[in-house]
């Protein structure tokens, strides 16, 4: 029997409206055969963690271009833990300086894609690195 497709929540935390990247990634992941749920803009970490539970996703991809990544990524990871779903793979993309990338990976963000990453690279990474949650 074919494995069920991965379910991925593409989420846009923060107050800014830069959704060009999030929407392109959501569509590219969907076109690659994943089940994609897109939250829309202006989500709080609480709203994102709640959607992850409700939608029973395997991974959460966060798109952040507002400079608030050091606040928002840790908040989402903490809330996922508190809700008992810390096996959800968290990855992300946006404008994140290299030193912050290292720190975020230490905190549990599995991968970060910065400007110039292709949609194919992201699709390939998800295929290779996001396990199905049981």
């Amino acid at each position: 029997m074919a494995e069920r497709p991965l379910r991925i929540l593409v989420a846009k935390p923060g107050l800014d409206g830069h959704d060009r990247g999030a929407k392109i990634i959501a569509r590219a992941l969907r076109d690659a055969g994943f089940e994609v749920i897109y939250t829309g803009l202006h989500q709080t970490p609480e709203m994102i963690a709640e959607s992850a539970v409700q939608e029973d996703v395997d991974a959460v991809g966060l798109s952040i271009l507002s400079g608030a990544h050091m606040t928002l990524f840790p908040a989402v990871i903490e809330l996922l833990k508190r809700k008992g779903i810390d096996d959800v793979t968290v990855f992300g993309g946006g404008i994140v300086p290299p030193e912050d990338i290292a720190e975020l990976k230490n905190l549990g963000v599995k991968e970060l894609f910065t400007p110039g990453a292709t949609t194919q690279q992201i699709v390939d990474w998800v295929r290779a690195n996001v396990p199905h949650r049981s």
């Binding site: 107050l15 409206g17 959501a26 608030a68």
Partner: protein, 545 residues
């Protein structure tokens, strides 16, 4: 057979073409040659006119940069009001001729620095302004009656403009002496930039309040800057940028006329804001087409009688989305070429992006190079000696015609849907843009379109630039200040002032006078935005993919 067709058949070595197809960055086909045959029914008087004459294709003013250079206006804002005030003074000292203010996300979305939703965002993408005291600091020592100021803010524009007016008043400067622009273009927010509080209808109502108020009290102020910039940044084509921007303009003019305003009373104070992307001739053609289209729309569709009402005057900014994080010094070159397109397209005001803007807000060093780029174009290249030097070029005129045709097709479709507000509710422009953005990304991924350093000529990266860092202390300091100020106010006066704003919001009375009164009582951006949330409701992202 025309001479061009004959030349194409007998002379043009199509088999030797480097590429299988030649297109602009927006996928418009480019022919091997442009010749008189490409402008078949073309008339100089009807389609171009001299500069400063209807339909203004050749320029808004007769002498253009021979008379007055464009305003060099670098968008700036970060950290606290003190930090940004210092940057403003630096830029003016370096020869900048106007100010342009970037507010942080909480200010733009109607939250004070002490609100939980502001956490992590205070002072990061712009300057934090929560109340009148911040605005006074932001413009400390700046001669408001001499410098023109632009403020990029939309759903809280009424509050920030009220603060600016209140600051001027406290300094004894009459509103009639104030020159500047507030972006205040909510329709493009729903289409592209996505900063909103309430749904489209009440948002447009507030804009008309501001148009009306400024027409009466601040006649030198541009109460709305109808913006294509963000539409393009969201991934639109050039024709979509042109079409959706002018459609938004039509939406505002229509709403103001419905209110009972005489079109000639406010039309001269509408201003525009376009993007300057990479495709050099397409961008020049876009600006020329924009002027011609708006002149026709205002004269023919709305029956405006004054020449000043027909005139499209525009700010432009080089395309942030064209810059690369890779090999960031290359961005200096991109910006210079984009800025040159803006000048050849006849812009009235220009922001040149800094080389480091894909990585962070610009450092002082980077913004200085960006400003110098404008000064080099203005004072070294000689292009400013000519008025519309590309006018009459077969290629540029054909491209101008093509963009106009495509954009008017979009506007026709929007009219058929019931106007721009309805089209936005249906997600029509949003979906068209998302489609174009996705198509462009696929072209990049395949290498059909080139970004140097990203999908071609990649290399091991040199050490990154010295970037501007915003300390977390900014947020703590600003949130603390806001809390202290809220404690120190006259609580009864604050309540009464907010009550008056709420009453006007309900009754449909012009909101500007009560908002100005409220900010003078130190009512905050967040508190007044709460009134909007309460009375007008909250708009949520439909999250179309």
């Amino acid at each position: 057979m025309t001479r061009k067709a004959e030349w194409l058949r007998n002379r043009y070595p199509a088999a030797a073409d480097r590429l299988s197809a030649y297109t602009t960055i927006s996928d418009l086909d480019i022919e091997p040659l442009y010749a008189p045959e490409d402008l078949p029914q073309w008339s100089y008087a009807r389609d171009l006119g001299h500069p400063g004459e209807f339909p203004f294709t050749r320029g808004a003013y007769p002498s253009m940069y021979r008379g007055k250079l464009w305003t060099m206006r670098q968008f700036a804002g970060f950290g606290t009001a003190e930090d940004t005030n210092e940057r403003f003074k630096f830029l003016l000292d370096q020869g900048q001729t106007g100010l342009s203010t970037a507010f942080d996300m909480p200010t733009l979305m109607g939250y004070d620095a002490d609100h939980p939703r502001a956490l992590g965002e205070v002072g990061r993408e712009g300057v934090a302004v929560s109340s009148l005291a911040d605005m006074e600091t932001l413009f400390a020592d700046i001669p408001l009656d001499q410098v023109t100021t632009s403020m990029t803010v939309n759903c809280t524009a009424s509050v920030l403009l009220a603060m600016y007016f209140a600051v001027a008043e406290r300094r004894g400067i009459g509103l009639d002496k104030l020159g500047g622009t507030i972006q205040n273009d909510m329709l493009k927010e729903f289409i592209a930039q996505k900063e909103w509080i309430s749904p489209p209808e009440p948002s447009v109502r507030v804009i008309v309040d501001m148009l009306e108020f400024c027409a009466q009290h601040a006649p030198r102020w541009h109460a709305v800057s109808i913006s294509g910039y963000h539409i393009r940044e969201a991934g639109s084509t050039a024709a979509q940028e042109l079409a959706f921007t002018l459609a938004d303009g039509i939406g505002y003019v229509h709403a103001a006329i419905e209110r009972g305003l005489d079109v000639d009373s406010f039309a001269p104070r509408l201003s525009f804001f376009f993007n300057l992307h990479n495709d050099f001739f397409e961008e020049i053609a876009k600006l020329r087409a924009a002027r011609r289209m708006w002149a026709k729309i205002m004269r023919e569709r709305f029956g405006a009688k004054q020449e000043r009402s027909w005139l499209l005057r525009t700010h432009t900014q080089t395309a942030g989305c064209s810059l690369t994080a890779q090999q960031p010094l290359n961005n200096v070159v991109r910006v210079a070429i984009q800025a040159l397109a803006g000048v050849l397209g006849g812009t009235q005001s220009l922001h040149t992006n800094s080389m480091d803007e894909t990585l962070a807000l610009p450092s002082e060093q980077a913004v200085l190079v960006a400003l110098r780029t404008q000064q080099i174009i203005a004072e070294e290249t000689g292009v400013t000696n000519f008025v519309d030097p590309l006018g009459g070029s077969y290629a540029v005129e054909a491209l101008t015609d093509r963009l106009e045709t495509d954009a008017f097709d979009y506007i026709k479709r929007i009219d058929e849907l019931g106007g721009i507000v309805r089209a936005i509710e249906l997600g029509y422009p949003q979906k068209e843009i998302a489609e174009a953005a996705y198509r462009f990304q696929q072209q990049l991924d395949r290498g059909d379109k080139v970004m140097v350093g990203v999908n071609k000529y990649q290399m091991e990266e040199a050490p990154p630039l010295e970037l501007l860092r915003i300390s977390n202390a900014v947020e703590r300091k600003q949130a603390q200040r806001v809390r202290e100020r809220k404690q120190a106010r006259n609580a009864a006066a604050v309540r009464a002032a907010l009550g008056t704003v709420k009453q006007a919001a309900h009754d449909g009375a012009n909101l500007m006078p009560p908002i100005i009164a409220a900010v003078k009582q130190e009512c905050t951006v967040g508190e007044i935005a709460d009134v909007f949330r309460d009375v007008f409701g909250v708009y949520r992202d439909p999250a179309w993919i």
